[in-house]
């Protein structure tokens, strides 16, 4: 009994330490204090700055657009790749699988740097066209979509596809209406993964982005290299909003996951 208590206490201590910085920032984001620990009055000023400073609002919208766009591309490529590999010969599948693993285990710095060298230095792409950045983020996340979809294909009952064909469905119809619904949870979680990877990325963006464009990551890193206090504290507000959104999504998907599991049992 006592041992269980120590374990739980450790668990909550780690959780406490993990959330202490985020929660403190969240509390201070509602004050006019310039530093954590300084005294300040309650104020929505940081949120006001966040939404009214054009630079900040533009950077947030840009980051979201990039994340959604590159995640969609990654989902199309990764899903098609997983389906193709599933029906390919063993040797082709093994090669694809191995190459797919490279961006997954490679350091992001190396992925970003090598893509920049190829696209910008060797092929002469203009960074301002956003093309290197979009390609970079798609390359970063497509392998994870592939990895999310692949197991769903292996778990799928192959005879269902054959049955659809026997019943007169065209291959493309069977693919859309029989295979896709079965692998759909994998596609969705792959897409979600791709969005988070793009949102969290600093390195690929910093090597491939246009000089005048900033993602949240590159903006925050530049802002910490000494800038106005109003921007610094506005970023606390941003951090708090992201924390809340993540929490809502996490709890929503958790309860939905439980429902789905419940349904399966029925």
């Amino acid at each position: 009994m006592k041992k269980g208590f120590i374990g739980k206490a450790f668990l909550f201590l780690v959780l406490f330490l993990m959330y202490l910085p985020i929660v403190l920032i969240a509390i201070y984001s509602f004050t006019d204090a310039a530093n954590i620990g300084a005294s300040g009055k309650f104020s929505f000023n940081n949120y006001y700055t966040l939404f009214t400073t054009e630079e900040l609002a533009g950077m947030i919208v840009g980051t979201l657009a990039l994340a959604l766009g590159s995640a969609m591309l990654a989902t199309v490529f990764g899903t098609l790749g997983a389906i193709g590999v599933h029906y390919s010969k063993k040797r082709t599948a093994a090669v694809m699988e191995a190459v797919n693993q490279i961006p997954v285990i490679n350091a992001d710095v190396v992925t970003g740097f090598s893509l920049c060298i190829l696209l910008v230095v060797v092929l002469g792409f203009n960074k301002d066209s956003f093309l290197p950045l979009i390609i970079g983020h798609t390359t970063l996340s497509a392998p994870f979509v592939y990895l999310a979809v692949r197991p769903k294909l292996t778990q799928m009952d192959p005879s269902l596809y054959e049955a659809a064909l026997d019943l007169g469905a065209s291959p493309s119809y069977a693919l859309m209406h029989v295979v896709l619904p079965q692998i759909f949870p994998g596609v969705v979680s792959g897409f979600a993964m791709a969005v988070t990877l793009s949102l969290d990325d600093y390195f690929v963006a910093t090597y491939t982005k246009p000089a005048t464009f900033d993602t949240i990551s590159t903006y925050v890193v530049n802002a910490t290299r000494g800038s106005q206090t109003s921007i610094k504290t506005a970023l606390w507000a941003l951090s708090t909003l992201i924390f809340l959104v993540v929490m809502v999504i996490a709890f929503a998907s958790n309860s939905r996951g439980k429902e789905a599991r419940g349904n399966e049992k029925v």
Binding site: G4, G7, K8, L11, V14, L15, M18, P21, I22, L24, I25, N35, I36, F77, L80, G81, A82, G84, Y87, S88, M96, V99, N100, P103, I105, N106, A107, D108, V109, F113, S114, L115, I117, L118, V121, V122, T138, T139, A142, Y146, L165, L175, T196, D200, Y202, F203, I216, S217, V220, V221, T224, R225, L235, W236, F243, V246, I249, A250, F251, K258
Partner: protein
């Protein structure tokens, strides 16, 4: 016949994609690593790296930083994953999610928050650069260590533990001889998700005002100096390290898999 071709051919765009944006950049890196500014073949970039005490010092510093970070992450993550997987907890899925959720919050914002706290505690971040970096890296990467260990531990066949106890093993023996070996694949994949980023994520150091270079910072500084050749060589050295780790860990994994079959 025609339809099998069409199903397979769905993978072709992704195959081309992978070749263009994963394989081709690596070929370019290898080319740049072994040439100089005028395009001639040279080993200078490689020998230069190992002859210069600054760059070898950077390699050692990153290895030490990554090693310490990985050990601390493991030391925290294993007990956490163990209690989560084995303990009788009421809101297990909620707790697990709380441990994973920081992964979804932008790491630069999380490090900013950490920086504020560390500044409050230490007064000036410049006093403990190494300690701050280790704390920052641990804070950043801990969920990536917890998740794989938790996954392997929660899939563990509980009847094996009962069998061990029936055969007279005490709790310590059960842990050392059954649970620990069977959780090794999770431990190894956790290590591989922490060690390499800890060698390369120089933004954590930058943001916490540690001006010492790690391997990633070298790529960054060569990049700002338009030295593609130097940067490519660092990338290649990192790739070589990745290959070594992957080979070592896949060998280990097979061993444990063999063990579990026995």
């Amino acid at each position: 016949m025609k339809m099998t071709i069409s199903r397979k051919s769905l993978g072709i765009p992704y195959g081309i994609f992978l070749f263009l944006f994963v394989v081709a950049p690596l070929i370019v890196i290898v080319y740049y690593a072994f040439t100089n500014g005028s395009g001639h073949f040279t080993f200078e970039n490689l020998t230069g790296f190992f002859r210069d005490p600054n760059t070898t010092g950077t390699l050692v510093y990153s290895l030490v930083l990554a090693f310490v970070t990985t050990c601390i992450c493991l030391g925290i993550a294993y007990p956490v994953a163990y209690v989560l997987a084995m303990g009788k907890l009421k809101f297990k899925s909620v707790l697990m999610m709380l441990f994973i959720m920081p992964m979804w919050i932008n790491f630069t914002l999380r490090i900013t928050a950490l920086k504020e706290i560390l500044t409050l505690i230490e007064g000036n971040l410049a006093f403990y650069p190494f300690l701050n970096s280790v704390v920052g890296m641990t804070y950043d990467f801990l969920p990536f260590m917890i998740l794989p260990i938790y996954t392997t531990l929660s899939k563990l066949d509980l009847s094996l533990l009962e069998a061990a106890q029936d055969l007279g093993a005490d709790r310590k023996q059960t842990f050392m001889r059954v649970i620990l070996p069977l959780s090794m694949p999770g431990v190894i994949s956790g290590i591989s998700m922490v060690f390499l980023p800890a060698m390369t994520n120089y933004v954590v150091l930058d943001m916490l005002y540690n001006s010492t270079y790690i391997m990633g910072s070298l790529i960054g500084s060569y990049f700002s100096a338009y030295n593609w050749h130097g940067g490519s060589m660092i990338s290649l050295i990192l790739l070589a390290l990745i290959c070594i780790f992957t080979l070592l860990s896949s060998g280990k994994e097979e061993e444990t898999r063999g063990g579990s079959i026995l």
